[in-house]
């Protein structure tokens, strides 16, 4: 009797905490949709048509669903990158640069390696190699910032942004120079197409959704496992919560900070590598722009929990994907989505506003995500 009561109350508790933790994001999205609707009306659009277009375009058909998954794939990886850094007490604004670097090196392996070796590689070797090299490139790019943070105190927020600009300049340098597609018709800064052996196959015939989407879900599960079930994950979270306590507990804080950043960058690099090997089959300059900020919004909306990140990524993907249809129906520009997402982020970050509007009580706990310059 007692045990039964306990287990039912436990179930109720779990249910309660699940609804509670998803209540604020849900209300934040709702508020953003309302505010967005008001702005659409002000500029002379019809918000109901706009939102109908968004939903139709993202979920309305097999193709729409497939495209949403295609959009969601890099979002999941990049969102996880930012979320993992948050767990470790670091703010990685540089997912964009790490993603670009991952894409550059992945495409380099994709198109150039067979030529260097002088023979074709089987997919089983070539594809993983292209992905892993891109991942490592992203990891190194972010690792530099992590090491600077750990050993010199240079703040990661500014350094990751600086690395973004350096990445953008470096990729333009490479894509306009030695890595440029030399075919006579090409005038764009982009690499040649990668070899067939370095491409991720699609899941269904005739739809663009590829196995990278499933890999993204798998990686999200792996990150959850890493954070909650392993010593390393425990160290990352402890350093994130309280570096001083971590130090006294015997955790090597500097090493953990560097490693967290390396992992974060690897995830972002993976996003770039999968975009190249699964979707674009080349790196075209500038395709990565905007992913960094989207990834931050996704990580915050998902409360840095891997499952939350996956859901938030799918939501953002649906919005991006539905935008084209919305534009077709209402003639409202696609950029509307960026604004809508900014409002979602605003209300998620400032959950106090949402609590205030809807009179939701706070449990009195404050989550410290970042620290000032000193930390």
């Amino acid at each position: 009797m007692q045990a039964e009561k306990q287990s039912s109350s436990l179930a109720r508790q779990i249910l309660k905490s699940a609804t509670e933790s998803s209540l604020i994001p849900f209300l934040a999205i709702l508020t953003a949709v309302i505010v967005g609707g008001i702005i659409i009306s002000i500029v002379g659009g019809n918000p109901f048509q706009a939102y109908r277009g968004l939903i139709e375009g993202s979920l309305g058909s097999q193709k729409a669903l497939s495209e949403t998954a295609v959009w969601a794939t890099p979002y999941i990886f990049a969102g996880l990158a930012v979320a993992l850094a948050f767990k470790g007490g670091l703010f990685n604004i540089g997912a964009e640069g790490q993603l670009a670097l991952g894409a550059v090196f992945s495409s380099l392996i994709g198109y150039a390696l067979p030529g260097w070796l002088g023979f074709d590689l089987p997919t089983i070797i070539h594809l993983p190699l292209a992905i892993i090299v891109g991942m490592i490139a992203g990891g190194i790019w972010a690792g530099v910032v992590g090491a600077l943070k750990a050993y010199t105190g240079g703040h990661e927020v500014i350094n990751t942004i600086m690395m973004n600009y350096i990445a953008l300049n470096t990729t333009s340098f490479l894509l306009n120079g030695i890595m440029k597609d030399k075919s006579p018709t090409n005038v764009i800064a982009r690499t040649p197409m990668i070899a067939d052996s370095a491409r991720i196959p699609t899941i269904f015939e005739g739809l663009r959704v590829h196995w990278g989407f499933l890999l993204a879900l798998l990686v999200a599960f792996f990150i959850w496992w890493l954070l909650t079930k392993t010593t390393l994950g425990f160290e990352i979270r402890t350093v994130g919560l309280n570096p001083d306590a971590a130090k006294y507990a015997g955790i090597n804080v500097k090493r953990t900070i560097t490693l967290t950043m390396v992992f974060s960058g690897m995830l972002a690099g993976l996003a770039g590598a999968i975009e190249v090997t699964g979707l674009n089959f080349r790196h075209e300059l500038g395709f990565s722009i905007g992913y960094g900020f989207d990834a931050i919004a996704i990580a915050l909306l998902g409360k840095s929990h891997p499952l939350g990140v996956v859901l938030a990524a799918i939501l953002f993907a649906a919005m991006r994907n539905g935008a084209t249809r919305m534009q077709f129906i209402t003639q409202l520009p696609v950029d509307l989505i960026s604004m809508l997402q900014a409002f979602i982020l605003l209300f998620v970050a400032a959950d106090a506003i949402v609590r205030y509007i809807y009179r939701v009580k706070s449990k009195g706990e404050r989550v410290v995500l970042t620290r000032g310059w000193g930390g």
Binding site: I93, N169, F293, A342, A349, A350
Partner: protein, 370 residues
Amino acid sequence: MDWKRFSFIALVIIVLFGAVVMVGQSQQRPILIITSMLATTIAVATPLTLGALSGVFCERSGVVNIGIEGMMLSAAFFGWLAAIYMFHVFGFPIGISITVGALFAVITGGLMGLLLAVLSITFNVDQIIGGTVINILAVGLTGFLNRQLFFGKGSVFGGQVPNSPGVLPTIHIPIREIFAPLCSDSIICIENIRAINRVFDQKPIAMGAVLLVFIAHFILFKTRWGLRTRSVGEHPKAADTVGINVFKMRYANVIIGGCLAGLAGAYFTIESVPSFEPLLTNGRGFISLAAMIFGNWTPIGAWAAALVFGASQALQINMQLFRESIPPQWAFLQQSYVVGLAPYILTMLILTGIIGKTTPPAADGVPYEK
């Protein structure tokens, strides 16, 4: 600001100027190159100076402002938009339109500052997240409105971006008129004076920025307001105990900071070029944060650091003029994406603290709860 930091700044500026003089001396006399570099440096450092001042005001009162970039971007857009509306839709003369545009930019910045204040002071949102929200919001809002207002259905402008009424004029400081008679017909002497004059002939916001550096220094270190601001940023509890309203001081300073970032935004679209493009601030807001840190949260120090970044940008611009004189093995350096890296790498170098550690205000980034 200690001597070590200032001498580092001086050294970097001398190296940057020296590089251009070395490349260009076969075509132009050094004094002409140096004055032209100086003039460009002061002009392009303007948004960085103002951005850094914005950061100084916010952070001296204890609020980290990572949203300077977004404040600049939105101010640049709305200022430019106001100028266009005044000129094309309401039919005001050019001068009034531009002035109103600049004013609107400052107001937009102030409103963004208010948003940051509401988020971080009233709602206790993590300040770095709050700033990031402002950055993302600015990108989304300006991108959407830029597209919608000019290319959208029912646009007043019928699908094309109208010409902006123009940019602020250069103000002439009459150095030439005063000193030229002393030259007694020496052509080179008159040429030199003209060149020196060009350094001082700046546009209003650039001049205002330099003036504001000293005004900010005076306010922060010589007035009661400044003392209160600093005490709120160092030890809010103590300030509260002696009767200073921590929330009011922080609100006021963050809004002042927003207005300064707004003026920096006006530099882009009202003073520099009469057009707007998405993402035009291009990281300047973040670089000005680095300038603020390197200047150890002081207005004059931040200005000196901003000038270093200005000089590295001036190097890029001036190198273009002497393109033919660059030896072929160094030719790759003149590609903008190689020279363009300098400010970013410099920023990261500065943040490592190898040029001297800096100390932020003690309560910087810490929300105050009674």
